[in-house]
Symmetry: C2
Subunit: 430 residues, 2 copies
């Protein structure tokens, strides 16, 4: 049973706070295990990675078979059904087109003193892409991670994907090939993260690691952060549908189910000004879940963390939505546009009745790697900016240096950094 809240309930605020604070992910304390794995890979390189892969994935590899050959990747591409392959190609095309618009421009200018100041952007040279094996092995995620890196101009993209007992999803390799990723290793877990961060005899180190993974992978990323860059730590997926009585309960129910079917930890919230819609959606969710071929995940997601919140006004909805800071916000409203600027904290906003969140997961063009667990209050979805970096440029002509010298020396002296001041004043004596 989902949670039902009404803004006229006496205990509404307390129950909303409880909903906000609900923990949807078991904390798994694997810090020490992961630290040992990383140390092992740093010390023994390939040998450690191979031994750990044998232990955890039941796969016996060699430095030669650790990497997929081009022939294997090509074969996987051909093995994928034609409709899926062309869907991946369409998704690739649309994601590429959208991300190309995110490429930042250098900005270098002179100020009134003649000082040249600027920001110069360059791509990161080498990036590692973690792709989970097993259940959460999504070819669409390969595109969403690889395409912005390619668009950014990353020179080398190294992908890792565990293949427990040798099982590999060909669509993963096909998506990689479509995105132009050809350096792919059949390894996973903390050992793969360590191999990417520190390098082995076979795998050259990368400078940043992106992509989702289980608790071991997430903990390993956290531990190698600093040595390499990392993206956000992804949590369970979530949607907040804000609806008025213009919304179609059948469509809204389908969207809530689409989120809930991610299973353990997934959260679907309906927030509406219409009690009638709320009642109709709840009945529809039950009806539709029963017709799924495999209803278990949606059932669990909806029962564990589903919520229906009836509020009096859209103003109230805005306040609550900004506190929830959902990964996905749908505006199933008669007049959605005035709401867009008011929803400040959201990973992505899906506007109007004809934009189900699932479009954004696959072929909309925007990225589906978005901030979860309320982190949209401070974080952004994945994009080209995650694969580039800024360098400041500064150039002083001699006159400007003289102009700025006094203040520099005052501040340097006040901070006890005599040498800093002198590096400026010494240039004035000529």
């Amino acid at each position: 049973m989902p949670v039902f809240l009404g803004s006229s309930d006496a205990d509404f605020d307390a129950r909303f706070d409880e909903l906000l604070g609900s923990k949807r992910e078991a904390s798994v304390e694997v810090g020490d295990t992961v630290a040992r794995i990383i140390a092992d890979v740093r010390e023994k390189g390939d040998a450690a990675v191979l031994a750990l892969t044998e232990k955890f994935d039941g796969q016996s590899l060699t430095p030669e078979t650790m990497r997929f050959s081009d022939t294997e990747i090509d074969a996987a591409y051909r093995d994928v059904p034609a409709d899926v392959r062309s869907a991946l190609e369409l998704a690739h095309e649309r994601i590429t087109a959208h991300h190309e618009k995110q490429l930042p421009n250098d900005h270098i200018y002179q100020d009134h003193l003649g000082v040249t100041l600027g920001t110069r952007w360059t791509a990161i040279e080498a990036v590692g892409l973690y792709v989970p094996g097993g259940l959460a092995s999504y070819p669409s995620s390969v595109l969403m991670n690889a395409v912005p890196a390619k668009v950014a101009g990353v020179d080398r993209l190294a992908m890792v994907v565990p293949t427990p007992k040798g099982v590999v999803n060909p669509a993963i390799l096909a998506a990689a090939r479509i995105a132009g990723v050809t350096e792919i290793y059949r390894i996973g877990g903390a050992q793969a993260v360590a191999a990417l961060a520190y390098g082995t005899e076979t795998i050259a180190p990368v400078y940043k690691i992106v992509g989702p993974g289980n608790a071991y992978v997430a903990t390993a990323k956290r531990q190698v952060f600093g040595k390499v860059g990392i993206d956000m730590i992804a949590g369970p997926s979530e949607v907040l549908v804000i609806a008025d009585d213009s919304a179609n309960p059948t469509w809204v129910a389908a969207d809530l189910i689409a989120q809930a079917e991610h299973g353990a930890g997934a959260q679907s919230i309906l927030m509406t000004t219409s009690q009638k819609l709320a009642d109709a959606v709840v009945a529809e969710v039950e009806r539709q879940i029963a017709t799924l071929r495999a209803p278990e995940n949606a059932r669990q997601g909806w029962d564990d963390f589903g919520a229906v919140i009836v509020i009096d006004t859209l103003d109230h909805a805005v306040k609550l939505a900004n506190r929830i800071a959902s990964e996905h916000v749908e505006l199933a409203l008669d007049d959605p546009h005035p709401m867009i600027p008011r929803i400040r904290n959201a990973g992505a906003i899906f506007v109007g009745h004809h934009t189900p969140e699932a479009i954004g997961d696959y072929v909309g063009g925007s990225n589906h790697v978005l901030p979860t667990a309320r982190s949209a209050r401070f974080a952004s979805g994945l994009g080209v900016l995650d694969f580039v970096k800024r360098t400041s440029i500064l150039q002083c002509p001699p006159d400007a240096l003289s102009e700025l010298a006094k203040a520099t020396v005052s501040l340097a002296e006040s901070e006890g950094l005599e040498g800093h001041g002198r590096s400026v004043s010494i240039r004035l004596n000529r």
Copy 2:
């Protein structure tokens, strides 16, 4: 004694690798202590923060005296010598003007199917700013951290600064006041990071924490990452001066000393095509260090991690510089401009003979919080973009949804997400 390397030496590559790998910071394992402190603050709030402040800073505070009053901040501002105050005002003005140019623009457009796609930027609502006490307590760093947040439009900026035994540097408070920061707490260490991340009765939680700190602070930031956003973990400062025989050895030596005087772990590297310049600079460094009022830090920085590298060509310098990926790169060259685009990995580039790095530390206008320890290979200096976040906008008109439905359903089905496909197909039946 600094390290001397010549590209004609037989063991050059090995010794350069050794220089790259040199560890300039002791690893301090404080993970468990920090975890206990964070748990304590989460559980007991103010009481834990006050007890830990008494224990570590020897300061007995109450919830009321934990925060600096406006009167105290105003008094500190007046206590700062006039030349330092006006230098801070000039720095504030120039840093603000430069960072205003970093404000990103929303970009929302329609594609050929009529799909509206876009990126919308908003400021983070609440940010915490950590300012170290003691030796490394720099008012310039307050400006460098606070100004981009203010320019970004952050609503609430909460600053913490430890004041061991009650000692506070008035210039820190003056810089905060000039930057418009008025919510300042006299607490520090892991307990201050925990208070900012989780909140206490007195301190409302923030969504991101920035600013440098010791091993406890850095470890605490790493542990609260995910609950809140954090900036990079800062390491010891460093400079790489690339010089040809047009460089003035006196000026180059002063720049190397300015970096070395940051003391423990700081690194100054001279890379030059001129053996003559190298010799002259080394002699000048000795001469100038001896004339410093407090030569100890520069002496230690130069002796422990200083390096002089003589190479044959600037092409070689480019290759090595990109591997070093220094926080600061100075181009003390006759013709520096062709080198700028070739230096791909650098936090900031200081161009020409009249741009000592110290200008960038204070009043140049660019940010002095820059990636250290080779992280310029994947990270950027602090800027406005660190205080804003992106939200994707997606809107499909009904026709576009029909157009994209087939591919979405194919991909959803192939990923075992029937509900995703259905949320699209169900909308086509009307």
